[in-house]
Assembly symmetry: C2
Amino acid sequence: MDISSLKKLALLGAHQKPLELSSVEFATYIDSSQQTAARKLKALEDEKLISRKILPDGQLISMTKKGIEILQKELNDYQGIFSGNGNIRILSGKTITGLGEGQYYISLEGYRKQFIEKLGFDPYPGTLNVRLDANSIDIRKKIAQSIRISGFTDQNRTFGKGSCFRVRISDIEGAVITPERTHYPEDIIEIIAPVNLREHLELKDGTNINVEVIK
Amino acid sequence: MDISSLKKLALLGAHQKPLELSSVEFATYIDSSQQTAARKLKALEDEKLISRKILPDGQLISMTKKGIEILQKELNDYQGIFSGNGNIRILSGKTITGLGEGQYYISLEGYRKQFIEKLGFDPYPGTLNVRLDANSIDIRKKIAQSIRISGFTDQNRTFGKGSCFRVRISDIEGAVITPERTHYPEDIIEIIAPVNLREHLELKDGTNINVEVIK
DNA sequence: ATTACTAGTAGACGAGTAA
DNA sequence: TTTACTCGTCTACTAGTAA
């Protein structure tokens, strides 16, 4: 798999909109012959990392979902390499649809008033669920769950305790909440924020997002 | 240049402390024969991207400054690819020694009181100067200089206006300040913060740092 | 155990050229 | 002009093995 060529195409913008590029032009970018450049483009197409439309005067190159995912994996790898330096920690993953449980729990007064007090915002009643990439799972494990949420009992039942840490997605500050259960999947995070993140960021299911750990 | 192998070594932590790794082990990581693994390590050493100490039962691998710089360049490339998505913007570069002008200007009451008022902190009298990488220069151009600093006149002379934007380096929030001059180098940024960043982050000249644009 | 040489082979390359 | 085939060459691989 020729990640270097795929990266070059992305730097030329092929991940955003179809890119007009002849094999001769690409050859100058990757410092090779026209034949090698054409062969590499063909190979990337065969691997379904890009899609091409061959035109009389060149080709129109778009990056596939699979291609973009591979580059995001690379980004995540490099962020992982340098995140240990105490700089910026970023969790990467894809948005998924949760079970809707989040909405119920967040709305409970016993939890809600703690969020307002400890996080400084009144959470939108709903969570954004994200399935983390492999590297991000490891990063997540190292994050101190610094803010504790207490359990409570109402007349009917007992609600367990949990913890959270602050994050930012794009321009919104929120928090990742983790119930303190024994069997909670480690590859999924639930994010709360003062606004409906899904609407605010115009997210569809399966969108890749970066969640930045703050404070 | 075998970036993929260099990256693997970094993921195994060779950029932080010397890594014990035999060629057989490395072969399993890069999915090759022991011979190829050994040859690749030798090649990386010849390019001065890693340094090795051959031991009777393996080798001790450290990444050189040059090797780490190449990986940081890669990180920056990938951040550039995905920064257009409106997510997290990070400026990468190397710390350099400025002319010491910053210290003089920041200390002037006409500017200082504006920083306190508009940025919310009393700046340490001195700037951290950073020479940006090529990609970061482009990112920087897209950043809105949202906070305006007015010029003023004292009895002797006139001091020009400028602008800034908020940034975070590691755990410190500060700001990049830009005087509104016609000929200001585009590859250098000057950062102010409530503390002496150079001391707080234990920075030497030429250290690679990531500056995250916030708000 | 290791590292790393030599030998044989498989895969990648550029040149020429067809479509 | 393009893309992409064939062909000869050269680099990079694995296996065997020395140190």
